[in-house]
């Protein structure tokens, strides 16, 4: 049942990005361009998504366990540390350069755009490079290990 749930959720998520035009990098860049012809649509997308998810999560927290898994994996990290800040900043640079974050980037694979495919390959490379770097640090005699994700 787990893959079916994944498929349905990805599909609904994808329709959300499609209807809101958030899979279009130009639309996202228009939001980020606050000193130009600013388009606040992304803010409305976030507000609507946050309204639904905050209520839904509050209800979900009261449940003993998820439908198709042993337990809920709520993120438990709380520290505001250097990797969080540096990672968010690096992501922000890439997002600002392209107008693409991971969801819309993957969804746009449907268009078979060669430039988009190159972007997704580079994104996957960046993720692999990060994981390899973390593994090397983890096996090194010194240096703190930072692993786990929030989402």
């Amino acid at each position: 049942m787990l893959p079916i749930a994944g498929l349905v959720c990805g599909f609904v998520f994808g329709w959300g990005l499609l209807i809101s035009s958030m899979m279009e990098p130009a639309k996202v860049l228009a939001f980020l361009d606050v000193f130009g012809a600013w388009d606040a649509s992304l803010l409305v997308v976030m507000a609507a998504a946050l309204t639904v998810s905050s209520v839904g999560f509050a209800l979900a927290k009261g449940r003993a366990r998820p439908l198709f898994a042993a337990k809920s994996l709520w993120p438990d990290k709380t520290a505001i540390d250097a990797p969080l800040v540096a990672g968010a900043a690096l992501f922000g640079i890439g997002w600002g350069l392209s107008g693409l974050c991971p969801g819309p980037a993957l969804e746009n694979l449907a268009t078979l755009s060669p430039r988009l495919i190159v972007f997704v390959i580079a994104m996957a490379f960046g993720m692999v490079a990060h994981d390899m770097w973390q593994r090397r640090r983890a096996t090194a005699p010194t240096g703190p290990v930072t692993a786990g994700t929030d989402g």
């Binding site: 749930a5 959720c9 990805g10 599909f11 994808g14 329709w15 209807i19 809101s20 035009s21 860049l29 980020l32 361009d33 130009g36 606040a40 649509s41 997308v45 976030m46 609507a48 998504a49 839904g56 999560f57 979900a60 998820p66 439908l67 809920s72 993120p75 709380t78 990797p83 969080l84 540096a86 990672g87 968010a88 900043a89 690096l90 992501f91 922000g92 890439g94 350069l97 693409l100 974050c101 991971p102 969801g103 993957l106 746009n108 449907a110 268009t111 755009s113 430039r115 190159v118 972007f119 580079a122 490379f125 960046g126 993720m127 692999v128 490079a129 990060h130 994700t149 929030d150 989402g151």
Partner: protein, 139 residues
């Protein structure tokens, strides 16, 4: 704000939030796309991750039947910028533990201080980058 589309934005946003709630209720997972995609490499549970991404790609393909044309995304002109941006998005989201969905929506909805800080940073940095590329360099 000639291109402001609040109605479709609200409907789309609500669907994104609904998908995040459904994923948590059904699988107990956070709908963070960088985490779902990045987890394909070495985290357990490859099947549901691939299925989620398949659903994501399937959405615009079915959208063509409902009057949403499948158009190529407007990408940077420079291949170097495309590669650098892709690398930064991949590396940065893994280092920071999330992206617009995992931190920006799921994390902020949980009122996680980590996610609120991360979202403020990547939004501010992206706004600064667009200001520089469009109004300083591109002017």
């Amino acid at each position: 704000m000639a291109n402001f589309t609040p109605v479709s934005a609200a409907i789309g946003g609500a669907l994104i939030g609904l998908a995040a709630v459904l994923l948590m209720v059904a699988t107990g997972r956070i709908a963070g796309i960088s985490g779902i995609f990045g987890g394909l490499i070495n985290a357990p549970g490859r099947g549901w991750r691939l299925a989620f991404i398949a659903g994501l790609i399937l959405a615009p393909l079915t959208g063509t039947l409902a009057g949403y044309p499948l158009t190529e995304p407007q990408m940077p002109a420079s291949w170097a910028v495309i590669v650098i941006a892709g690398l930064l998005v991949g590396f940065g989201t893994r280092l920071g533990g999330g992206c617009t969905s995992g931190h920006g929506i799921c994390g902020v909805a949980r009122l996680s201080p980590r996610s609120i800080v991360a979202t403020a940073i990547f939004m501010a940095v992206a706004v600064a980058v667009v200001a520089i590329t469009r109004h300083v360099l591109g002017a």
